[in-house]
């Protein structure tokens, strides 16, 4: 028999449900505000509700060469950083997934440090190193910063999948006469492919959006987030900023949803 107390904790009361949905709405509110303001006819204040709606600012923004240049640079940086992270992060995941050796704990710590410490530390640390080395900040210094935290993302994704891959499958494959390469190609790779893809997508989204580290390492280069950051303090062209904001949200949503979809089945199977 269940007493009242148990019922209160096990069945969702109306107020609990309400609080949960209110919290979710709170999380989504700013995103919808951005979508709404991209269409507003008011170009000086942030008046709500908007006095009228228009598509005019999309046309204006699409004609801006500086925005396209920033977007191109951001996509280029994110692609290179993701490729480097996929290579280095996957290698590390394979080495650390099932092995035991002295110093492994320290190495594992090293592989979470770039995201455990705030981005500003990575930024100022890289800048200090560039100053010491006499390196001029530019395209490759941006990549250096991004690759460093993207490695961690890919490593986390791949190692989680490798740990769930039964070791016995690998042993069975080898016992049945497959060599290491065949085992990798036909047993391991199909199992980790989606984790690789998901890790890559997340790394791409993270790099595409990165500002905290990038402001320290970019020199005179202007990625899309840096363009956006400058607009925040120079509010001359609010309507265009609004259009870029909504475009950025749409661009990052695609890899995020894909990454979720790729890793989803296994995540909910195990629970």
């Amino acid at each position: 028999m269940r007493s009242r107390g148990a019922r209160d904790w096990n069945a969702a009361s109306f107020s609990q449900k309400l609080a949960a949905f209110a919290g979710l709405a709170f999380l989504h509110l700013p995103v919808w505000v951005i979508v709404l303001y991209a269409f507003t006819t008011e170009d000086r204040t942030y008046q709500f509700p908007p006095p009228g709606l228009t598509l005019h600012w999309f046309a204006v923004a699409f004609a801006r060469e500086d925005i396209w240049n920033a977007l191109r640079l951001s996509l280029y940086v994110a692609s290179v950083a993701t490729l480097m992270a996929l290579l280095l992060g996957t290698l590390a995941a394979f080495a650390l997934a099932h092995s035991r050796f002295r110093g492994r704990e320290a190495i594992t710590l090293l592989f979470v440090l770039p995201i455990a410490l705030p981005g500003i530390i990575t930024g100022i640390a890289l800048l200090s190193a560039f100053k010491f080395g006499g390196i001029q900040p530019g395209f490759w210094t941006i990549i250096t910063g991004h690759a460093t935290f993207c490695i961690v993302i890919v490593h986390n994704n791949v190692i989680a999948r490798l740990r769930r891959l039964p070791q016995s499958w690998v042993e069975a494959s080898m016992d049945l006469g497959a060599d290491g390469l065949q085992t990798f190609r036909y047993v391991i790779l199909p199992q980790i492919a989606t984790a690789l893809l998901a890790g890559g997508m997340l790394a791409f989204a993270l790099s595409f959006d990165e500002i905290i580290v990038t402001l320290f390492t970019a020199g005179h280069e202007q990625t899309l987030p840096i363009w956006f950051f400058n607009e925040l303090f120079r509010p001359r062209e609010r309507p265009i900023t609004n259009v870029v904001a909504v475009s950025v949200v749409l661009i990052t949503m695609v890899p995020i949803l894909l990454a979720y979809w790729l890793t989803r089945p296994r995540e909910f199977e195990s629970k």
Partner: protein, 301 residues
């Protein structure tokens, strides 16, 4: 190729070293090397007359950091904000996490999971910008408050010393709301994971033994959820300590550690002081991590 694979399979240690070497070199040289450079930089000082960095090891910059009351204020202000954000984020996250972990149907849970994840991964800058739109004088938040007839409440809050200001967009209260919003998903996810592991039978036992819901919550649910809080708070705490964009876009004119780091290295050109300032969050986080470890935070990650 095949021969290489066979060769490596027999020599496991060599194979591991080969795998580990490239990523380890990258993080070891680029990342740890940079952290070391940062530390070195913080032991340099700037020459007051030439405004040039003097490459000689000295404690002068750290002395400057702790002896100026303004600098100490910045550190305390940032720490206070990080603690407040962490506590309130935990309170706001709990109902969502509890619903996701214990009450939602699998379909609803997937919906909530995506619902928390999407705003979490939405562009950071766009979210900050959206909050600036919302907190502005004529913005959506004051409109909403007016519609509910709560304007006197908002004005009273803004009239409060320290947290108040001329408007939400230029007060610590507004900045605080933005911080809580930004890091909320980082609290919800580990908390959900921790609550999922609370056995149903313990709650039933507690109720059968006569505990009221409040007692069950305090004595059973809360202690078991603590590792989740600890794990989430590591994010909310560390992210608030290091942020420099939110305090410069929203909020009162007082400085925060991150803003100081950014400004000292940029417009002022005092890289040693920027480096010394950035060592402060590292120390605070190290202290916090050791506390969180005691609470068992890392079992819930």
């Amino acid at each position: 190729m095949r021969a290489i694979a066979r060769f490596l399979y027999g020599r496991r240690g060599f194979y591991l070293a080969l795998l580990l070497l490239p990523p380890l070199l990258w993080l070891g040289i680029v990342y740890l090397g940079s952290l070391f450079a940062l530390l070195m930089q913080s032991f340099y000082a700037i020459d007051e007359f030439t405004a040039r960095i003097v490459p000689k090891l000295t404690l002068a910059t750290y002395r400057q950091l702790v002896s100026h009351p303004a600098n100490v204020d910045i550190i305390l202000r940032t720490l206070g904000m990080a603690v407040a954000v962490t506590l309130v984020a935990a309170v706001v996250a709990f109902p969502i996490a509890n619903y996701m972990a214990r009450h939602a149907s699998p379909r609803m849970k997937a919906f909530f999971y995506v619902g928390v994840m999407l705003p979490m991964w939405t562009s950071y800058l766009v979210k900050v910008y959206a909050w600036r739109l919302m907190l502005a004088k004529q913005g959506i938040l004051s409109w909403f408050v007016d519609q509910l007839g709560l304007a006197p409440v908002l004005n009273a809050a803004l009239a409060t010393p320290v947290i108040g200001g001329p408007s939400l967009a230029s007060s610590y209260l507004g900045m605080f709301i933005v911080f809580v919003y930004m890091w909320l998903p980082f609290m919800i996810l580990p908390l959900t994971a921790a609550l999922e592991r609370v056995p149903q039978s313990l709650l039933q036992a507690s109720a059968d033994l006569g505990a009221r819901p409040g007692q069950t919550f305090r004595n059973v649910v809360l202690p078991l959820a603590l590792p989740g809080f600890a794990a989430g708070s590591v994010f909310t705490f560390s992210l608030t300590l290091g942020d420099y964009i939110i305090p410069s876009v929203v909020g009162a004119p007082g400085y925060f550690i991150g803003m100081m780091v950014y400004q000292q290295q940029g417009t002022v050109g005092n890289l040693p002081l920027a480096a010394a300032f950035s060592v402060v969050p590292i120390i605070l986080i190290a202290i916090y991590l050791s506390l969180a470890k005691r609470l068992g935070a890392f079992h819930a990650l």
